[in-house]
Structure formats: C-alpha cells, structure tokens
C-alpha cells in the first residue's frame, strides 16, 4: 500500500491461464503485477510486497481460500477480492464474512475485474463517508449531515430502519455486503438469521429510490450472498 502512483496487485491463483490473463490485463491498465501459486507463497508475498490489492482464488491447492482470508485479516488490512465459481454462493458469503472485500464470479470480464479492483483500492485508501458528507446516485441525493434523502429534488421520508439500511449500503458502496453483515449492523447480532427483514426493507427502499423497483439500477441483489449499492 506504499506505492500510490502505481498500485500493485498480488494474484494468488494456481491456474496458469487465469494468472496469465490477469497479468496481461492488470499490467496493461497500470497495475504492477505480482503472483503466487499457493497460499504459503501468497502469505509471504503479502508481507514482502505490501500489495495494494490481493486477488485470491478460493480453490487453492494447499489451503482453503476462506481460511487464508481469515489468516491475512489477522495482521493485514489489504483489500481482498476472491475469485469463485457461480455455484459457490456459500463460499462467497463465508469469504466476505471472513473479511474479504469483494468477489468475482468466474467467468468474468475485464470491465468487471477493473471496476472491482478500483472500488476495492479506493475503499482501502479512503475512510468511510463522513457524517456530513453528501452521496448521490441516479436521481437520489443523500445528505448525511441533515439526514435528508431526496429523489429528483423531492424530499423522501425514510423510516429509521430504511435510513440505516441505506447508510450501511452507502458505507460499502460498490461492494457486496452479506445479509449477516447488514442484519448485524442494523438490527444487532441476534437478528442475523432474520433475512426477511432485509427483503421487506429493501423492497420499501427500492419503491422509494428506484425508477423501476423490479429492475433496480442501484440497489442490487446478489442472490444467495447479499446486497450491493451501485453508485454509477
């Protein structure tokens, strides 16, 4: 994280073709590239190279990716993006709850990869939105200082829980928050199984903030994992 001019990425992945593709793409887009073929090598390179971002494959030969995430989080705050297959929703949730910042589902495109990398690095560099900051997306403007939400310059009335949910999504904007994380932040840790709260409040929020709640542009559902606020 010491090199802000040219952010460095460490890719921990045992599959050579994916490493090659990532190396080409990331180098081409101004990242300095490091690679590790297994968890052990990955751990030592995080310590030695101090990368600005770690891209971690969940299926490593020598260690479970979720376990590795936990281990990294014990001593490093480096943003971690995990790579997983579509069918591994449970693993994605586990990785996110273990401290990963985001995930990419294989197969993924270049645009998606770069967007996630940017968001993850930006988040690590920036502190969360200040209490008085103003956030906008679509026709929505949120003034945290005044606790005011407007849609097309018309003031919206949000219930306290709707507002808390929106604030949590804004804090993690661009990244997925798991159901468990959201429930814990808003209702407390004893409510982490009550995902229906989220269903109800997300539906209400979409009614208020989305032009077409059935085809949301910003309040995105990640099935089986959680929610994401897309700012752009």
């Amino acid at each position: 994280m010491n090199n802000f001019d040219k952010p460095s990425v460490l890719v921990i992945e045992d599959e050579a073709p994916i490493r090659r593709f990532l190396k080409l793409t990331l180098s081409d887009h101004g990242y300095s590239f490091h690679e590790a073929l297994n968890a052990r090598e990955g751990l030592s390179k995080i310590a030695s190279e101090q990368p600005s971002l770690v891209i971690l494959d969940l299926g490593l030969p020598d260690m479970d990716g979720i376990e590795l995430t936990r281990e990294i989080r014990e001593w490093s705050k480096v943003p971690i993006i995990v790579l997983s297959a579509r069918e591994q929703e449970k693993d994605k949730v586990l990785a996110l709850d273990a401290g990963a910042d985001d995930y990419l589902t294989k197969p993924f495109g270049v645009q998606e990869l770069l967007a996630r990398a940017r968001v993850a690095i930006r988040h690590a560099a920036k502190s969360p939105p200040q209490a008085d900051s103003i956030v906008t997306f679509g026709q929505v403007k949120i003034d945290f200082g005044k606790r005011l939400v407007t849609f097309n310059d018309t003031e919206l009335h949000l219930t306290p829980n709707e507002f808390k949910l929106l604030a949590a999504l804004v804090r993690h904007a661009g990244r997925v928050i798991t159901h468990t994380q959201l429930l814990r932040e808003i209702w407390g840790s004893e409510y982490t199984d009550e995902t229906h709260y989220l269903r109800v409040y997300m539906a209400q929020l979409r009614r208020k903030l989305e032009t077409d709640p059935a085809q949301p542009r910003h309040l995105i559902t990640e099935p089986g994992v959680g929610y994401k606020l897309k700012l752009d």
Binding site: R86, P107, R147, R199, P213, A214, Q215
Partner: protein
C-alpha cells in the same frame, strides 16, 4: 385334576343315590349318574369321563342293587342293566369329547386363518425382501411363542443365520446349521426331537408334503422349513419352541408351512418387482446417457470450434485483418464462450438437483427481487427487448431458495430470448390466488407446439420446431425440478394472439413472519438522531403510520 373332580362328583351322586334308594326307581338313579357323566365329559374330556363311567357302574352295583354292599349280581336283568349303563356312559363320553374336539379345532382353525390373514395383510404392505422376512419372523414368533431363525444364502451361496435377536443366532448350534443346509438343498422340511433319551436324536421326515409322513406320535421340538416360492428357494425357516414342555404337532407344522409359503411368495413377488425396476432404470439411464453424450458432443463442440477458429484467425491474420473484423472475431469468441459457460452451468445445476434436495435452502424471498436479479443477469442478452413487469402489490414473501429460484427465471428468460425474435416483448406478471402465487413469463414467439406442453420440460428434449438451436435442452427440466422442490408446479401453453405462457404456481404454505415489530417506535433512535431533526422527525411520523397499518 379332572380325574379327582370326576371322582368327587360320582361320590356325591352315590351318596345321593344311597339316601334316595328307598324312594327312587333304579332307572332314575341311573339317570343321575348319566347326568354326572355328561357333565364330566363336557368339562374334563375323555379320560375322567371313562373313569367316571366305570366308577358309577361299580358304585351303582355296590350301593343300590340288592344285596347292598356287595358286587354280587342277582339275575340276568341286572347284568343287562349294568352293560347298557356302561355302554351309554361310554357313548356319551365319546360323543361329548368329539363335539369338544371339533369345537376346539374350529376355534384353532379360525385363529390360524386370522393369523394368516394378518400376516398376508402386513406382508402386502411391506416392501423389500428383508422387511418381508422381518414381518414373517415377528408373526410366527408371537403365534407360537417360539424363537425363529432364518437362514439366507450369502453371495457365495453359504447359508447365514439371521434373526432380530443376535443371542438366538449365537445359540444356533452347528447341527442346526447342517439341518438348515439340508433343507435348503433338498427343499424338504425336517423336524427334530431333542427330548428323546439320546438327546439330539433327529427324526428326518422324508416328504412332509404327504400327510402320512408325519407319524401321529411325533412331537417335534424344532422345525426346519424351506422358504419356497414358485421358482426360487429363498432360505430356510427354523422354528423352535421357547418352552421345552411344548412341542409342535402336525397341524402346527402345516400351519407354519402355510405361513412360510405365503412369505416366500411375497418375497418372490418383491424380487420380481425389484428386477423389473432395475431393468427399467438401466434402460432409462442408458437412454439418458446417450442423450447427454450426443448433446455434449454437439453442443460443446460447436462453440469450441467457433472459438478456436476465431482466435486462430486473430493470431494468424493480425496484419491483414481490418480493426472492425478483429473486433467482430473477438465478439464471436466472447459470445460463444458465454454460451458454453451457460451450458456448463446448466449441466452442473442438473447434476446438483439430481443428487437430492439436500442443497435447497429456503428463506423468505421477495418475488420482485428474484425476478429483478434474474433480469440483471440477462440484461446484455435482452438488448432492446422490452420487458414489462406487473406484480400484485399484496404479494407475500415466499419461502424459497434464492439462488435456485433465480435460476428458474434466468432459464425461462434465456429460453424466451433464444426462441423468440429480437424485437418481441417479454412480459412477467405475478398474482396472488388464495393459497398460491402464480408467476407467469410470457413471450410473443412461435408458441408451444401442440402436444409438446409437457415434453418440453423433459431432460434433453428439444422441440421439433427448434431442432437447429444449440443447447442441451436442460433449461426447462431444471426449472421443473427446482419448482417441484418447492412444492410448486410449472406449465407451459400457447398464448392467445401468438407466443407462449410459462406459468409457475407457487404454494403459500406458511404465513410469512411479521416485520412490524422490528421498528419499535418507542426505542430511541441511535447515533446522532437528535442532531438531525428534520429527517428523523419525518421518519418517526411515518414510522407510526407504518406500525398502525
């Protein structure tokens, strides 16, 4: 016991006749004795009755016929009287005990036919050979108060003793095992007697299918019977009385044989059914594997060929290709690999679904949200297609697996995109009907061919009208499997005015949990609420309205 009471009754009758001999005729006194004999015969059976008959003749002579207190008989008339009296007494005895025996036989027959009926009934409700045997063992054990062991051949053909009670097997000696083997080989029953002086002596009955083979005197301790079906011998049944004082008679043997035959026939039937099912499954498996192989080889090869061609062309002709051509080739590669990815996803999904419902995780879901996330995944493929969504406002949360149900809509949408012209709209609606929610995905394509409404949901099925389309024909089969896992129903039909309607009926089996309680209007708002008067106040006011509704 019977003898003693018989003696007593005759003594009382004799006393009576001594006191009444001055007043009563001899013939009347005889009647008293005969009455007593009838009673004794009907109560205590043949033995006591014969004793009573002889006793009463002697007593009558001794006490009632002058000269009293001697057995001397005066005159031939008295001899005739005695003989007739004895004859009648014995006749009564025989007839009465015969009636009794018949009644007892009838009772036993009734009990046995009831027992047989009970066994047949339970067998008919039981599936699987092992379970059938367990039922038979249980019934025979309870009927005879006997221990029951079944010997079954293992893979190598060696007989192995099986019983619910392992102690019974351990007690089974080598000799009994030899008996069982012999019965299994010859298919003829054996009865053993262990109570004879040289204990363990065996009486081998040559052919018990013939009644004469069972000597009437034989009281067996153990019976070995073959479990004989029409074609197959399944094993050997050993029945041994728990109480050594009780033995098995010929009628017991016949009854047990009936029970054993009944069991064996049921086992034969079960084994035939099993064989049929296995054969059926094998055929189906074969057909599926063939369909899968031809699908995989065709449908994965086509995109692979395209990708290989396009990428090698990009590499080899990089100097001659125009930029627009390069872009088009790259586009082709991207599209084909996405297509392959979709095929592989469906294959995996089907495999996962077929491995059982263990992977399903139902939570409360919002239909709108699930449709929305499926739409987001096909956004690029949708292109300029219009998607109209109309969902009832009062849709309840439904208990479903988020990821699986998203796949249902994903597959339905991909299906619409694949089989309908690019400029036609897709409509989605959802309505609540009493105890179910009906969600429909509708297009304006060619519709469903008549007669294919059900078959399009079959694995690897491809409509005759779309034979050229790529794909495994798994999408709709996956939809059907997932919806079925949720207790719902999916169907397809042609639509008025052209196109098709896919409709999912989803049961509302439980009431969704309430969420009102989560916003407690009395709880102080956390964080810097007091510093944010306006929004917080409006939030509070609205909150009250919400909880009130």
């Amino acid at each position: 016991m019977g003898f003693a009471i018989g003696f007593l009754i005759i003594s009382v009758a004799t006393l009576l006749s001594i006191f009444t001999r001055q007043y009563l005729d001899h013939s009347n006194t005889i009647m008293i004795y005969l009455l007593c004999i009838v009673y004794i015969a009907s109560r205590f059976g043949k033995g006591p009755s014969i004793l009573a008959s002889i006793l009463s003749v002697l007593a009558f002579d001794f006490f009632c016929i002058p000269p009293h207190y001697t057995l001397q008989i005066a005159g031939t008339q008295s001899i005739l009287t005695f003989l007739i009296m004895l004859f009648i007494a014995l006749l009564i005895t025989t007839l009465t005990s015969q009636v009794q025996d018949q009644a007892q036989m009838a009772r036993m027959r009734e009990q046995r036919s009831e027992a047989l009926h009970a066994l047949s009934q339970e067998l008919s409700l039981t599936r699987g050979k092992t379970n059938l045997l367990h039922v038979a063992i249980k019934h025979i054990r309870n009927l005879f108060d006997a221990k029951v062991i079944v010997y079954l051949p293992d893979i190598s053909g060696t007989l192995v003793a099986c019983s619910e009670n392992s102690a019974e097997i351990q007690n089974a000696e080598k000799s009994t095992h030899a008996n069982a083997s012999q019965v299994f080989d010859t298919k003829r029953a054996i009865a053993t007697v262990v109570s004879t002086p040289e204990s363990g002596k065996m009486t081998v009955l040559e052919s018990l299918s013939l009644d004469t083979a069972w000597k009437p005197s034989l009281k067996a301790d153990s019976l070995f019977l073959p479990l004989q079906g029409n074609k197959e011998t399944f094993g050997v049944l050993q029945v041994t009385m728990n109480n050594p004082a009780r033995t098995l008679t010929h009628s017991d043997f016949e009854f047990i044989q009936t029970l054993a035959n009944q069991t064996a026939l049921c086992m034969e039937l079960a084994s035939l059914t099993e064989q049929n099912q296995e054969a059926q499954l094998k055929i189906e498996g074969e057909q599926l594997r063939n369909a899968l192989l031809s699908s995989v080889s065709h449908d994965l090869r086509t995109p692979l060929a395209t990708i290989t061609g396009a990428s090698s062309s990009l590499l080899e002709n990089k100097n001659t290709l125009k930029d627009t051509d390069k872009e088009e080739l790259a586009q082709v590669i991207l599209e084909e690999s996405e297509h392959m990815s979709q095929l592989v996803r469906n294959l995996l999904e089907m495999t996962k679904l077929e491995s059982g419902p263990t992977n399903i995780k139902k939570t409360w879901q919002n239909v709108e949200e699930i449709i929305g996330s499926a739409l987001a995944r096909v956004e690029r493929q949708l292109g300029d297609r219009r998607v109209q969504i109309s969902l009832d406002d009062d849709l309840p949360l439904l208990a479903m697996d988020e990821v699986l149900m998203q796949n249902v809509f994903l597959n339905l949408l991909e299906n619409c995109i694949k089989y309908t012209p690019a400029n036609t709209p897709i409509e989605i609606d959802a309505k609540r009907h009493d105890s179910q929610v009906v969600i429909r995905v509708m297009d304006r394509g060619k519709g469903i061919r008549k007669g294919e409404e059900d078959s399009i949901f079959t694995k690897f099925y491809r409509s005759q009208s779309n034979a050229k389309q790529q794909g495994f024909g798994l999408g709709l089969a996956i939809c059907k499997a997932i919806v079925a896992l949720h207790g719902g129903k999916i169907s397809a039909r042609s639509r008025d005015g052209g196109g098709s309607i896919f409709s999912i009926e989803f049961p509302i089996d439980r009431n969704p949990p309430l969420t009102e309680m989560t916003e407690d209007k009395n709880a102080p708002l956390k964080q810097a609420d007091s510093a944010l008067p306006e929004a917080a106040r409006s939030a509070r006011i609205e909150n009250r309205q919400e909880t009130g509704s």
